[in-house]
């Protein structure tokens, strides 16, 4: 499946480029023989990780130092729990109603 091939100036430009690249191409043996270059990506990755870790640690340290002092711990009020084993002491309430006197005084006639 060939694309439409009209007299393409684009094709001519690519041909020119191809000639130039062919001239500039390194010899095959040189490419094959050359040892792989040491990868710089590993140290770069290590630096990246170290920098990220330093930033995280810095933020944690700053948040720890800047944090306002915690309020004093107040012990919660002691809750007296009823002991189910001991029966509650019975008592008569001394509470008086504010209108109790109405029950005792004669009603105005």
């Amino acid at each position: 499946m060939k694309p439409n091939v009209e007299p393409e100036p684009i094709r001519a430009l690519f041909s020119d480029l191809r000639r130039k690249d062919a001239r500039d191409a390194p010899p095959f043996d040189q490419v094959c023989r050359a040892a792989p270059r040491p990868r710089r990506t590993v140290p770069r990755a290590a630096w990246t990780v170290a920098a990220a870790a330093a930033v995280v640690l810095g933020v944690l340290a700053a948040s720890y130092l800047v944090r306002p002092p915690a309020p004093p711990v107040v012990p919660p009020p002691a809750v007296t729990q009823a002991n189910p084993a001991e029966p509650a002491e019975l008592a008569i309430s001394r509470w008086h109603s504010p209108t109790e006197f109405l029950l005792e005084l004669p009603a105005p006639r």
Binding site: P3, E8, P9, A12, A22, F28
Partner: protein
């Protein structure tokens, strides 16, 4: 294929492979050479095996493309350097010059700048079809896309490149092509 056959095969395709690696590496020669080196090592050490199907050339081109993409991801900072290269060597002031003064190197530089502005897929399909004389289906295999997608990229790329080169390189080239197809390539052609 044994190692010596593989080596012979790679050597036969070396210049083509270099051109394709240059395209995949956005014309960064050092990076292209590094990519080729990794590809050759992978092929010769048997890490990349040809299992039939596509043509050996298409298979090799697909490996180069993948390796270049991998390399690009690892060395993304190089893109910034290349951008600076184009800023330095780009077509600054080209519009002010009369067309007749645009020589072959300038035309090529303008063409490369226009090519570089195309999206990667469009640039690749143009390179595979025009530079490496692959068919669209072969280009699609090398690019790992469907034939329909390759055709779409191809049509859009031609259109975009024509628009980018209109009034400068393309007119000059067309005039040359109209009279003598070899003339536009200069004395080296």
């Amino acid at each position: 294929m044994d190692r010596s056959q593989l080596r012979t095969h790679l050597e036969g395709l070396h210049r083509e492979s270099y051109g394709w690696a240059l395209c995949c590496c956005r014309r960064d020669a050092a990076q292209a050479e590094e990519v080729l080196q990794r590809v050759y090592l992978a092929v010769l050490e048997g890490k990349a095996k040809y299992r039939g199907g596509a043509s050996p050339k298409t298979w090799l081109f697909a490996i180069i493309r993948r390796t270049a993409a991998d390399e690009r991801r690892r060395n993304w900072l190089r893109g910034l350097r290349l951008g600076r290269y184009f800023l330095r060597n780009g077509p600054a002031g080209a519009e002010e010059r009369p067309e007749e003064r645009i020589d072959r190197d300038e035309r090529r530089a303008l063409f490369l700048v226009a090519l570089d502005k195309l999206p990667a897929r469009q640039r690749e399909v143009l390179q595979l079809v025009f530079y490496h004389d692959l068919s669209l289906s072969e280009a699609a295999e090398a690019m790992d896309v469907s034939v329909g997608s390759a055709r779409t990229h191809y049509d859009r790329a031609k259109q975009a490149l024509r628009e980018k080169l209109k009034g400068t390189v393309l007119d000059e080239t067309q005039r040359g092509a109209g009279t003598d197809p070899g003339a536009l390539l200069g004395p080296e052609a």
